[in-house]
């Protein structure tokens, strides 16, 4: 198949929309944000064109799937106005945040939701109508809530509201990880450093939004027209969903071999937080090569008052595979340590560049539920496959920039 032109719509989707953060972490800021709901054309990795629903960054902005990243701080007052330019009803919601649900937004209408940013964590905003259907068709994005003061007792920064976690064991476990970074033999180098205010991602933080595409469902979206009805297809999507494309930040395969929103290119001792969200309808079993990750926080998917709330794990496993159920959000830490099974006798030469094999070391990340590594029924590995690069040893970034 011919290589088609690459539309960088996914990368553009991670533009930040959380302007106006307060300078003082102690004072709650106010965020007044706007989103539009539109349809947009997306070209998939094998050249297939589909129509998706998308959020725009403002009333009339560039459509992006996933929608723009919002970053706010715990306690901030957030107001989001959503403008529906489509010809069918929509609704905006953020599972796990009390009050963050709009009334139905009629065609051409607008609605506003206001809420106080809750405990720190990774949240997904979405269209909650039609079950998860509008979400998988593109109406989803990430809201990051940062802690007012995420520091451990020893002063290490974390992405969590440690002062508001009821489970002392969880606080102890998370603190132990962040305190170990940069201070132990296993984790030489730097501490974890939060993303600078206003940036969608940083050297030490990434957001990966997983999704799938079943073009039969996209065919229901007709540009400028009300969404087509197909009761047999949409009555129970879990029975009819037959995804053919598997994406991270709306790209797959070769298109995921580039893009700083996804790819981590770090030196040993630059631990990196990966916020992983599954907006799709299929489960994923993400597998990373080169390092194990610490699975620190996940989302309660049990129906009830706790639904959608982030939970810190008391017992933090180091995994090379982590499951991502539909709607799941997880905070994983890639320690960026020396891959432990490189022979000890080989490491000095590798890091100094005098060995035969050279840096950077490229390690793939892919879903191990291997159907998701395909595109259009074949084309391995043009599905949910990306990588991270180990650039060099401790302090290498400073040396490289000289």
């Amino acid at each position: 198949m011919e290589r088609r032109e690459f539309l960088k719509i996914g990368a553009a989707g991670l533009a930040v929309a959380g302007a106006g953060l307060a300078a003082s972490p102690a004072r709650a800021a106010t965020h007044t944000l706007e989103l539009g709901i539109v349809d947009t054309q997306v070209e998939l990795i094998d050249g297939t064109l589909v129509t998706m629903l998308a959020f725009t960054k403002s009333r009339i902005g560039q459509p992006s799937v996933p929608g723009p990243v919002f970053r706010v701080k715990e306690g901030d007052a957030v107001t989001i106005t959503i403008h529906n330019t489509r010809q069918e009803e929509h609704r905006f919601e953020i599972p796990g945040i009390d009050g963050a649900m709009s009334d139905a937004i009629p065609p051409g209408g607008s609605k506003t939701v206001s809420f106080t940013a809750p405990i720190a964590g990774t949240y997904m905003y979405q269209d909650g109508l039609m079950g998860p259907l509008y979400r998988v068709l593109g109406l989803h994005g990430v809201l990051v809530v940062e802690p007012l003061d995420g520091r451990t007792a020893a002063g290490s920064q974390t992405p969590f509201s440690l002062d508001r976690i009821g489970n002392p064991q969880a606080v102890q476990s998370v603190s132990a990880i962040f305190d170990a970074l940069g201070t132990t033999e296993r984790f030489p180098g730097s501490k974890w450093v939060p993303c600078a205010s206003g940036e969608p991602y940083s050297i030490q933080e990434r957001i990966w939004v997983l999704n799938q595409v079943d073009p039969r469902f996209n065919a229901l979206v007709v540009p400028g027209q009300p969404i087509r009805k197909d009761a047999a297809l949409t009555a129970d999507p879990s029975e009819t969903w037959t995804p053919r494309y598997f994406t991270i930040n709306n790209r797959s395969g070769f298109d995921l071999a580039e893009g700083d929103d996804v790819i981590i290119s770090n030196y040993i001792g630059e631990p990196t937080l990966i916020r992983v969200v599954n907006a799709g309808l299929a489960y994923h079993s993400n597998h990373i090569h080169g390092n194990h990750l610490m699975e620190m926080a996940e989302t309660s998917l049990r129906p009830g008052s706790g639904f959608g709330k982030p939970m810190l794990r008391a017992n933090i496993f180091e995994r090379d595979v982590w499951s991502m159920q539909p709607g799941q959000r997880k905070d994983m830490l890639l320690p960026v340590e020396i891959p432990p099974d490189i022979p000890l006798a080989q490491r000095a030469a590798l890091l100094s560049g005098t060995g035969q094999e050279k840096l950077p070391m490229r390690y793939v990340m892919h879903c191990h539920c291997e159907m998701s590594n395909t595109a259009g029924g074949g084309n391995y590995p043009q599905g949910m496959v990306t990588h991270w690069d180990l650039m060099g040893g401790v302090g290498g970034r400073r040396t490289a920039s000289l």
Binding site: M1, R3, D46, Q172, S173, A176, A180, S238, E239, W241, P243, R244, G253, F254, A257, L281, A282, Y283, S285, H287, H289, G290, N291, H292, M294, I316, F317, E318, R319, D320, V321, W322, S323, P339, P340, D341, I342, P343, Q346, L350, G355, Q356, E357, K358, M361, Y363, V364, H366, H368, C369, E370, M371, N373, T374, G376, G377, G378, N379, Y380, P381
Partner: protein, 413 residues
């Protein structure tokens, strides 16, 4: 590539039948190099399934510019026309243990009588008797420098030692290094005791499903004096060991050819509808216990089970009546760092494995809860439910031959 050395049979501790047979087979075909004779024989771990190193030599500088390492990266080289080669192994180290794995075909009879084609890694020194799903165990000892020689057949293959974290060139992923045309010796050091997987990473959906995988175990060094081997370094001792390796089989996939779909054809590799289910190589038949998954132990013993999910289903594991501890996750032992500890699982509670997850569990039959259970009965059902990745329903539900519910037992004798 030339074999310059192979171990002498006399130097090999016949720790296992596999190792002994392997050494004999390899020695018969080998030519000796004087330099290698001067080297002292390696000490294999008591449970090693490998041959003592250094093994055949194939060190040297690969032509990185004609591989994915430094070559031009394009849409085509990513999937359809991946770099293929049989390069030497860069930064060659002297191996303490080595393995031969050759691609071979294998047939397995399903419970309805249908015979399906599988592809396996054969232990070349053992020959066709080692053809099995899962492929022969790679078992080494902590600190071993491991060489695994892959001999490809029926097209290119690789070996990815899943969870083992070596250099990129030895990680076995074609589009970031190379697919192996004829042969390659993978090099890594076994620095973390635990349970791992090795599998082919070419056209992975298909090759993993076709059976190109096996277990990898890294044992800690034995205790001084007693020579007993713990579950991991500083971990518990155990009396009985079992592997529970889960697999699910969609017969439609087993009719596909090696490179199906790679250059753009729609061969339906996004659709997986398993009809057969295996645990540790035993094919499950509805209503019949899987013998290969059975465990027998005495009432005061400790059982170590190494679970590996090689299925594309999520697998829910339930042990009737017995409690246990998860002691290791994805090869990383619990309780060695301040952020984790053993996870107790109550009788009947479910443990869920995502695809490629591993859990090592320790069932201590001497624990008070388990002793109380043993007073009442001696046979405990073990249940393995295979669940679809989208519908969350049991696979092949209601099928009279095999549905996604396999079971076996733990029998206290």
């Amino acid at each position: 590539m030339a074999d310059i050395e192979s171990p002498s049979p006399a130097a090999a501790p016949a720790a296992t039948a596999t190792a002994a047979a392997a050494v004999t087979g390899a020695a018969a075909a080998a030519t000796f190099a004087p330099s290698a004779l001067a080297q002292t024989a390696s000490t294999l771990g008591p449970k090693s399934t490998g041959m003592p190193g250094p093994g055949p030599f194939s060190g040297g500088l690969p032509d990185f510019k004609n591989l994915a390492t430094d070559g031009v990266e394009s849409y085509e080289t990513f999937g359809c026309k991946v770099y293929k080669d049989s390069p030497p192994t860069p930064d060659w180290q002297r191996a303490s243990v080595w393995f031969d794995r050759r691609i071979a075909s294998h047939e397995i009879k399903m419970p309805d009588g249908k015979i399906l084609d599988f592809w396996v890694f054969e232990d070349e020194a053992v020959g066709s008797k080692s053809r099995n799903v899962p492929s022969p165990l790679i078992r080494v000892q902590q600190g071993d420098l491991v060489h695994v020689r892959l001999k490809a057949a029926k097209g290119p293959h690789t070996i990815h030692h899943h969870g083992i974290e070596p250099t990129t060139f030895n990680d076995g992923v074609g589009h970031v290094s190379m697919e192996v045309g004829t042969e390659y010796i993978y090099q890594w050091e076994a620095n973390t005791p635990g349970t791992w997987i090795y599998h082919c990473h070419v056209n992975t959906p298909l090759h993993f499903e076709m059976g190109l995988y096996g277990a990898v175990v890294v044992d800690p060094k034995p205790d001084p004096g007693t020579r007993r081997v713990r579950a991991f370094d500083g971990g518990p001792l155990y009396d009985v060991e079992q592997f529970w390796v889960f697999d699910d089989i969609d017969p439609r996939w087993h009719l596909l050819e090696h490179g199906a779909g790679l250059c753009g054809e729609d061969v339906g590799l996004n659709i997986f509808e398993p009809q057969y289910f295996m645990v540790t190589g035993g094919v499950s038949r509805r209503g019949t216990s899987v013998g290969k998954a059975r465990i027998t132990a005495r009432a005061n013993q400790k059982i170590l089970v190494r679970m590996i999910n090689a299925a594309y289903s999520q697998v829910r594991v339930r042990l009737e009546g017995l409690e246990y501890d998860v002691i290791s996750v994805d090869g990383h032992a619990l309780g060695k760092s301040a952020w984790n500890r053993y996870q107790r699982v109550a009788p009947g509670e479910e443990l869920v494995l995502a695809t490629a997850n591993r859990y090592d569990i320790l069932i201590d039959l001497a624990s008070p809860v388990n002793q109380a259970a043993i007073l009442k009965k001696k046979s405990f059902r073990t249940e393995f439910e295979f669940v679809d990745w989208i519908t969350w329903k049991r696979q092949n539900l209601g099928d009279p031959v095999a549905e996604g519910l396999a079971f076996s037992s733990i029998d206290v004798v």
